[in-house]
């Protein structure tokens, strides 16, 4: 006996719809996507190339200076130097630069779109209601699922890697900006208004300065999330530390796998330590 009604047995062609949509995009806007993809690829490769022209030791020194300037801690600075020298020694310098470039661009795009969107959502309840499920979707949907359409639209290379990374990382700055702006105490808003602040002044002089620590936390999260995407980005052809990992997997090369993996971990730790907000300095500038 079959108790399932017929209309339930009729499969909804969900997959077909998505395919139809993506096919439509590729068919009609193939040219546009390619131009976009190629020019972005050119910019990213250009960045990597100019970084690669600088002798590694100079870059390491610059990074150490930055670390010391931000934190004033010798132990940290020496640790950063040691870690970067280890990567150089292992022979993954070039891939590290590629990964760093990818992370920088992904973060840039995420922040550029994510922070304004977070602010807009904080000011409009309906907008937050609307984007909230989308953000949930972006963070939970398995990455491999949207690798295929990005690959079709943007071809193989850095750009599909960048797009996938952005999809995965952008919810962090949006959410944390939203959180920061909505948690400004009502009394501070009142004070701003009482002294004649316009909407724009309220944003720049009250809301953003108050939300700044939270927004910075969103930025840090965004960077770390981008970094966690390197291996997946490598699957769609993005250069960087992910590539040797994928290659090691394909050729069952334990040595290479562990070395590249170690390099990724080092980059993550170094970035985390440098970006971490110095304690007790919650409000910088303003």
């Amino acid at each position: 006996m079959n108790w399932t009604p017929d209309f339930l047995l009729e499969k909804i062609p969900f997959g077909k719809w998505v395919k139809f949509f993506v096919d439509g995009l590729t068919d009609n806007f193939h040219q546009e996507f390619r131009i976009f993809s190629d020019s972005l690829e050119w910019v990213i490769q250009g960045t990597i190339m100019s970084m690669a022209k600088v002798p590694p030791l100079i870059l390491i020194v610059l990074l150490c200076i930055l670390a010391y300037w931000l934190h004033r801690k010798w132990v940290l600075t020496i640790g950063v130097a040691g870690a970067m020298l280890l990567i150089l020694n292992l022979g993954y310098w070039e891939q590290t630069l590629q990964t760093v470039a990818l992370v920088i661009y992904a973060t840039l795009v995420s922040v550029l779109f994510g922070i304004p969107l977070g602010i807009a959502a904080a000011h409009r309840k309906w907008l937050f209601t609307a984007i909230r499920p989308v953000l949930d979707l972006m963070q939970t949907i398995p990455t491999f699922v949207y690798l295929i359409p990005t690959l079709m639209l943007f071809g193989l290379g850095m750009v599909p890697g960048l797009i996938s990374t952005v999809i995965f990382a952008i919810p962090a700055p949006i959410r944390l900006t939203y959180l920061g702006v909505t948690s400004v105490p009502e009394s501070l808003i009142d004070a701003g208004k009482a002294f004649g602040a316009s909407k724009r002044q309220l944003l720049w002089k009250v809301e953003l300065p108050h939300a700044m620590p939270t927004i910075m936390a969103g930025l840090t999260q965004c960077i770390m999330l981008s970094l966690s995407m390197v291996v997946i980005a490598a699957l769609v052809g993005a250069d960087g530390l992910g590539k040797p990992v994928v290659r090691a997997l394909n050729s069952v090369n334990i040595a290479m796998g562990f070395e590249a993996g170690l390099a990724i971990v080092i980059v993550a730790i170094v970035l985390d330590r440098i970006l971490k907000q110095p304690e007790g300095k919650e409000y910088i500038g303003g």
């Binding site: 501070l188 009142d190 004070a191 208004k193 004649g196 602040a197 002044q201 303003g286």
Partner: protein
């Protein structure tokens, strides 16, 4: 002409204030309206005129609508019905209908505010906090700097300019709030329970400072308080609010001697009379004193019929006798040294002499104090009986009420 005048102001929060307005007109009360429509009537039919240079205190329990009303003055709350007129450069501006740029001008030039929780920006230094209003209205940096230094000196915080608010005590933080409000040179000052978050000692200290500052500044101040002592100490005009309505409005003396209902009477009963009353509200008026049969124009001022004031034809105090002997008489001054005051001296007080001083003098000299007006006319007397009945909260009016 008043500087700020509230005319039948209603403030209603909720999904559909107009419905609530209709229900109010039908005579429904606030709880019914809230139960039926979820609209909250925070203020109903408030009418107050605040004159230039006056301190008007809105007083009432928490939730009685004081903040809702004061926040209408600078447009932080919308006025649901009624008018709120502010005299501004020969014109009247109605806050209920004015446009944004008018409101903006009022906020930057005319009205400033001090908040209960200080509302200082934690990421700004004291100096930059004080500069907020100037910065928002586009005052150039060096001018700003100069004004800020000046206002910080006024509240005696010039040495703290580069600190952050969290490094300051509560009292100091509120002085920063005050300096910020003074920086724009607005002449209407809104103060929403500015001292309520402070320790009692600091609170009194700041009240005194405000009184001192007001002597020079002569701002028009609207002040919210839930403490009658504070209201009586600061206010020229006190409006008492209960459940969104103003139940009594009048001078401090009026409130203390004439509470209109149980709610006001309870406030009056719990105040500390030593801190707030003056001889005017304490004394037994001259009309109720008995004449001495033996002489014309003389009043008996003690219960044992021994101390007698002799008046001239205009009612001015000429001399005081005790058991038939003339006694020496001096008038009260603030720097009067009570230690050197001989027992049995008569000290004359005036209407403004604080109750604390009257009690102390009475204790030292052991005689009642005649109270005289500016031209020397006897207007009343303060003796043991008046002092005790005031401390016990038993003025004539209240006795009939309780």
């Amino acid at each position: 002409m008043p500087v700020v005048s509230f005319e039948h102001v209603d403030v209603i929060f909720g999904p559909n204030p107009t419905v609530a307005v209709d229900m109010l007109d039908q005579g429904k009360n606030r709880d019914d309206i809230f139960a039926k429509t979820e609209n909250l009537v925070a203020v109903h039919d408030a009418t107050i005129d605040v004159q230039e240079g006056e301190i008007c205190v809105l007083m009432g329990l928490s939730g009685s609508g004081k903040s809702s009303l004061i926040r209408c003055v600078n447009g932080l709350n919308k006025i649901t019905r009624g008018h709120l007129n502010i005299r501004h450069k020969d014109t009247l501006i109605d806050l209920a209908t004015c446009d944004w740029s008018t409101l903006h001008n009022l906020r930057t030039e005319r009205i400033s505010m001090v908040f209960q929780q200080f509302a200082l920006m934690p990421w700004r230094t004291v100096r930059d906090n004080v500069a907020l209003g100037l910065e928002l209205s586009g005052v150039p940096k060096n001018k700003r700097h100069q004004i800020v230094e000046e206002k910080l000196a006024l509240v005696r915080l010039d040495n703290w300019a580069d600190k952050f608010p969290r490094e300051l005590s509560g009292g100091m933080q509120q002085r920063v709030g005050l300096a910020r409000a003074l920086a724009t040179d607005a002449d209407i000052l809104l103060m929403d329970e500015p001292f309520s978050a402070l320790d009692p000692l600091i609170r009194e200290h700041l009240q005194d400072e405000l009184i001192q500052l007001q002597k020079d500044l002569k701002k028009t101040i609207i002040f919210v308080s839930h403490d009658l002592d504070e209201a009586l100490k600061l206010g020229n005009l006190i409006a008492i609010m209960e459940g969104g309505k103003i139940v009594q409005i009048g001078s401090p003396e009026d409130i203390v001697s004439n509470p209109v209902n149980e709610y006001v009477a309870q406030f009056v009963a719990s105040m500390n009379p030593l801190k707030v009353l003056s001889c005017a509200s304490l004394m037994r008026p001259v009309e109720t004193l008995e004449n001495d049969d033996r002489k014309t124009n003389s009043k008996i001022i003690d219960p044992k019929n021994q101390t007698i004031c002799t008046l001239d034809d205009q009612g001015r105090l000429q001399k005081v006798t005790h058991s038939g002997n003339d006694i020496s008489m001096i008038s009260f001054k603030e720097d009067l040294d009570l230690k050197t005051l001989p027992k049995g001296t008569i000290v004359t007080a005036d209407a403004d002499t604080p109750m604390r001083a009257a009690v102390e003098i009475n204790f030292v000299v052991g005689l009642p104090l005649p109270v005289i007006d500016r031209i020397g006319k006897l207007i009343g007397v303060v003796g043991n009986k008046e002092i005790f009945s005031t401390i016990l909260g038993k003025t004539n009016k209240k006795k009939s009420m309780v």
